[in-house]
Amino acid sequence: MTLQTPSISPTIGSATPPPPAVHLENVVKTYGSGTASVTALAGVSLQIPTASFTAIMGPSGSGKSTLMHLAAGLDVPTSGSVALGSIRISGLPERQLTRFRRDHIGFVFQSYNLLPQLSIAQNITLPLLLGQHPVNSAWFDHVVQSVGIADLVERRPQQLSGGQQQRAAIARALVTRPAAVFADEPTGALDSRSARQVLGQLRHAATDLQQTVVMVTHDPVAASYADRVVFLSDGQLAGHIDDPDIARITAHMAQLGE
């Protein structure tokens, strides 16, 4: 597992035999043009190993959301490359990118983003339906059981609590057995008890279901569930902590000026 700031040349990570689940190479993202242009990411290289749980932290405006959008193929980098598993997704045409996202990436958003007109089961299997893939009912049952909403699948999202909705969103992210699950502030809208459950589910997904999980958060408690915390500041990597605890994360964040 290698992590670099752009000033240090990459060496070690690329030598390991299985490719990392997520691989960013000197990624730059600027918005706008001319004098009005804003650099969100100023050359970030990052590798995230398979079946790990990584938290990305940084002050507001540090580029952590942009990093996740690029890694998840929701946006394209201005320069540099993004690869998931063995597929280089930067440069893929939009149609293929969409298909790739659908089949190989899972999303969990802060505001759950379940469709109110669909039942929980329909919401969870929506990515499969969109990709015209059959639902593997054993896997479906396993996923809904492991996130603890097996009894709720016939309900509508608005009949569930926030925590339950977020767990349904996690189930939706896992149902396609994606190359990586990206979670954007997944506990931002939850009370602390629900947040703990959701984080436990993400941890469980990485450890027991062998899923790669990448989570953007500003909450040191949430980040402490990860295997590693990666810090961003002003569009550049600003260090990392392995096997983090809350105190170290808070201290590092304080250094970065938050």
């Binding site: 959008h69 969409t98 659908r102 983003n113 469709l115 007109q117 339906l129 608005q158």
Partner: protein, 825 residues
């Protein structure tokens, strides 16, 4: 508070854009109708032929109706000869010139209006060559004919040709498109004018220095039973079209305005409530941070007032152009003359702005009640999904309206005649409003049929479309109802006249038993020509048919249910009727029409008047002459031949021209046809001729098609507006689907299926709503409950509805999909 309102408008540009469009369109439409109504009161045809007269005197040209628009006479109302002297005797009158009008045709079919030579003084013109007509065979024509003094020209009156020598040429000054004029000597015009002892108009030349308006008042004061015209109003009386134009315009724009205003206001109100519903979340937030319900209502009403005032003012301007456009189309349809000048004043625009802004504000107050009263938390929860239940009151009201509408539709089963048709016509509107109220229920119900089909597609767009339709029945219903309303309106407006005219044509074709129908290329047939045809060897029977209108008052004049309406009347020869016509007489005998002061009535007309054979009825003939007549027969084919039938000799003096429309001829022998055509007449068949009143009906239906197109156009724009608004609002939903891996194609197919569902439901609903009224109307008219559905027109209606519904959802979907994925996160 205004600051908040302004900020909110800036933030919700998209949502407000929809409101702005709706208000703008409503304001334009209202302004246009306002201009037309005002023009009915103050506009007019410019005076041309009578521009040289200071005052024009005529007989009253319409029948006053208490508390309603006067009904115009279809024929020229005449003045007694003595009136000329009476007018001349009024102090200040220099000359009172009697004028009559006789239609002539030149050899090549050019229509010429002939007048006595004396009347040339009323027209700004100059005799540029030759001299005035002195002998009966002399004529002065205007320069447009290209004749020279001394030329011999043939002019026909009612198909009877006569040769005249051109004695002089006049040049018309300053009249652009007046019909060709001819001036005859007093003896010649007297021989052609069928109303000896009466004149059409009197043109007055005032003494030097006499004020025309004062003179006009003096004449009206001193001479009883006349109407005087000065200034621009002289145009009203110059031709019959001018007389009728303003009344027509008032009647037409009045009825158009009624429907259009209701729809415009409906559209403004529903767009506004959609826009407010879309911003529930914001309102909930405002409530949560401590805005009182009162303050919130204040914000909503203020922002609405601000936006709608600007939009209404901007919309009023194109409204004036729309009025001119409509007037031009009415002119094409013959409802008003082409040179009818509209009265443009700021009044129409001001009224339109006040009306639309008022409606918008009122709708805002009503729509703001929900979000402002709801507790903040509930409001936040509600904003996630629609309220699933319709309130009971709404369902009950909706159902009662539908039931009332259906019952009203069946009125013709119990009552006969055209009076009963008013029920079904308004029933369509009742049913539509009822359907609008229970719209979400209707959508749910119809999904039990459509849902399985969508789900059976087993593809994501199908499943999503089904789920969307199920969860957002209100959104669907908001889209379906206006589309269905358009279809309903179009069907009722187009197919009721179609049903009527189809039945009239059938009656006319079946009832015409004559071997030949004879018309004149000149447009009318003089009585002597009828005599000539009767003299042809082998001709059995000839009846002239004179078509005119009669004004019939039905019901108690003091009650709400009285109607004063023009109805078609035909004049025939009672002696020849048996061999040429079969009016399906059910009681009495047409031969008795030979007795003086007798009429036969169509059965519907008899029912409306409550008249039986032997009863006496009061009618007003086309020139305003009252007639009290005994009913001698009742017949069934009133729709095809006219509501009233009378002896041609009794009707002729009460028509302007005194000419017959056509002749019905029965006869045997090969030579008959040849001899008829040798007289310069032509043969035609019943379908080419058309049923009684078909011309008027065509004119009315053209006008109502125009009116309908305007309203449909407005509905179409409003529907597009609403659908675009509603679809644009779904950006977030589309973005989420895209992030979950839906391709733009899948999202488009999903909305395509939804829009297809909406449009098909709209067409079905719109059609079903019209069935009870149409069946009722068909039964009332024909006794058969089978309405006429012209397939091509219906296909076009349904097709354009489908296209409109689908495009206005799919296109904004495509545009919403173009937004980048991340900025939408």
């Amino acid at each position: 508070m205004w600051t908040l309102a302004r900020a909110s408008i800036a933030h919700h540009r998209r949502s407000f854009a929809g409101v702005i469009v709706a208000v703008l369109l409503a304001s334009a439409l209202s302004t246009a109708l306002g201009v037309l109504v005002e023009s009915g009161l103050r506009g007019g045809v410019p005076v041309e032929r009578l521009a040289g007269a200071d005052v024009v005197v005529g007989a009253p040209q319409s029948k006053p109706v208490p508390e309603d628009v006067p009904v115009p006479f279809s024929e020229r109302a005449l003045l007694d000869d003595d009136t000329v002297d009476a007018v001349a005797a009024v102090p200040g009158v220099n000359r009172a010139i009697a004028d009559v009008e006789v239609p002539l045709t030149a050899g090549d079919g050019i229509k010429i209006s002939a007048h006595p030579w004396a009347a040339a003084a009323l027209t700004p013109s100059a005799l540029t060559a030759g001299e005035s007509p002195a002998a009966a065979d002399q004529v002065v024509v205007d320069s447009s004919l290209g004749a020279e003094p001394g030329d011999r020209i043939e002019l026909a009156h009612g198909g009877v040709p006569a040769t005249y020598t051109v004695s002089g040429i006049v040049d018309l000054i300053g009249s652009a498109d007046a019909a060709s004029l001819a001036y005859l000597s007093p003896q010649a015009i007297g021989a052609l004018w069928p109303h000896a002892g009466s004149v059409a108009l009197i043109g007055v030349i005032a003494d030097e220095g006499t004020d025309a308006a004062a003179l006009s008042a003096a004449i009206a004061d001193r001479v009883p039973g006349v109407v005087t015209y000065v200034g621009a109003a002289r145009g009203d009386v110059e031709s019959l079209a001018g007389v009728n134009a303003r009344t027509n315009l008032i009647a037409l724009s009045g009825s158009l305005a009624g429907v259009a205003l209701i729809i415009a206001m409906f559209v403004v109100a529903s767009t506004l409530s959609l826009s407010i519903a879309q911003r529930r979340r914001d309102f909930a937030l405002l409530r949560a941070v401590g805005t009182s319900p009162r303050q919130l209502r204040g914000i909503i009403v203020r922002e609405t007032a601000l936006v709608s005032t600007i939009a209404a003012v901007i919309g009023a301007l194109p409204g004036y152009a729309l009025a001119q456009l409509l007037a031009d189309q009415f002119a094409v349809g013959g409802v008003i003359p082409a040179d009818f000048a509209l009265a443009f004043s700021p009044l129409a625009g001001i009224a339109a702005v006040a009306l639309t802004v008022g409606t918008a504000a009122l709708a805002a107050i009503v729509s703001a009640r929900g979000p402002s009263k709801a507790p903040p938390i509930e409001a936040l929860v509600q904003s996630r999904i629609e309220t699933p239940q319709l309130n009971r009151g709404r369902v009950i009201t909706g159902l009662s309206l539908i039931i009332t509408g259906v019952v009203a539709s069946l009125l013709p089963l119990v009552i006969r005649g055209e009076a009963a048709l008013a029920g079904p016509a308004s029933a369509a509107l009742l049913i539509t409003v009822g359907a609008a109220l229970i719209g979400p229920r209707i959508v749910e119900w119809s999904l039990t049929f459509a849902g399985p089909v969508l789900r059976r597609l087993r593809v994501a767009p199908g499943v999503l479309a089904d789920a969307n339709a199920r969860s957002f029945t209100r959104r669907l219903s908001t889209a379906i109802i206006p589309l269905a309303l358009g279809i309903t309106l179009a069907i009722v407006q187009l197919f009721v006249p179609a049903t009527v005219s189809a039945e009239a044509a059938t009656q006319h074709a079946e009832g015409t038993t004559a071997d030949y129908i004879v018309t004149s290329p000149a447009g009318g047939i003089a009585p002597e020509l009828g005599t000539q045809v009767a003299a042809i060897d082998g001709v059995d029977a000839v009846t002239p048919v004179i078509r005119s209108n009669v004004i019939v008052a039905t019901g108690d004049p003091d009650s709400e249910f009285s109607m004063v309406q023009p109805k078609p009347i035909q004049g025939i020869d009672p002696a020849a009727s048996g061999k040429t016509l079969d009016l399906a007489v059910t009681d009495g005998s047409l031969a008795k029409l030979a007795d003086p002061d007798t009429v036969a009535l169509g059965s519907n007309q008899a029912f409306e008047l409550g008249a039986h054979v032997g009863d006496s009825v009061d009618l007003t003939l086309g020139d305003g002459t009252p007639l009290t007549a005994r009913v001698v027969a009742i017949y069934d084919r009133g729709l095809g031949f006219g509501a009233v039938t009378i002896d041609a000799d009794a009707l002729r003096p009460h028509t302007t021209t005194g000419l017959a429309d056509h002749l019905l001829v029965s006869g045997t022998g090969d030579a008959v046809a040849g001899e008829i055509t040798a007289l310069g007449l032509s043969l035609t068949d019943a379908s080419d001729l058309g049923a009684a009143g078909a011309g008027d009906a065509a004119q009315q239906s053209w006008a109502s098609v125009i009116a309908l197109l305007v309203i449909l156009g407005f509905i179409a724009l409003a529907v597009v507006n609403t659908l675009v608004m509603a679809t644009t609002e779904r950006r977030d939903e589309f973005a989420l689907l895209r992030r979950l891996g839906a391709t733009p194609g899948q999202v488009t197919v999903m909305t395509f299926l939804e829009s297809g569902l909406i449009s098909v439901l709209a067409v079905v609903l719109g059609t079903v709503i019209t069935l009870p009224p149409l069946i009722g109307i068909a039964f009332g008219l024909t006794g058969q409950p089978i309405p006429v559905f012209p397939p091509i027109v219906y296909g076009m209606l349904a097709g354009s509805t489908l296209l409109l519904g689908i495009l206005s959802i799919v296109l904004p979907t495509r545009s919403a999909l173009r937004a980048p994925l991340v900025s939408a996160v």
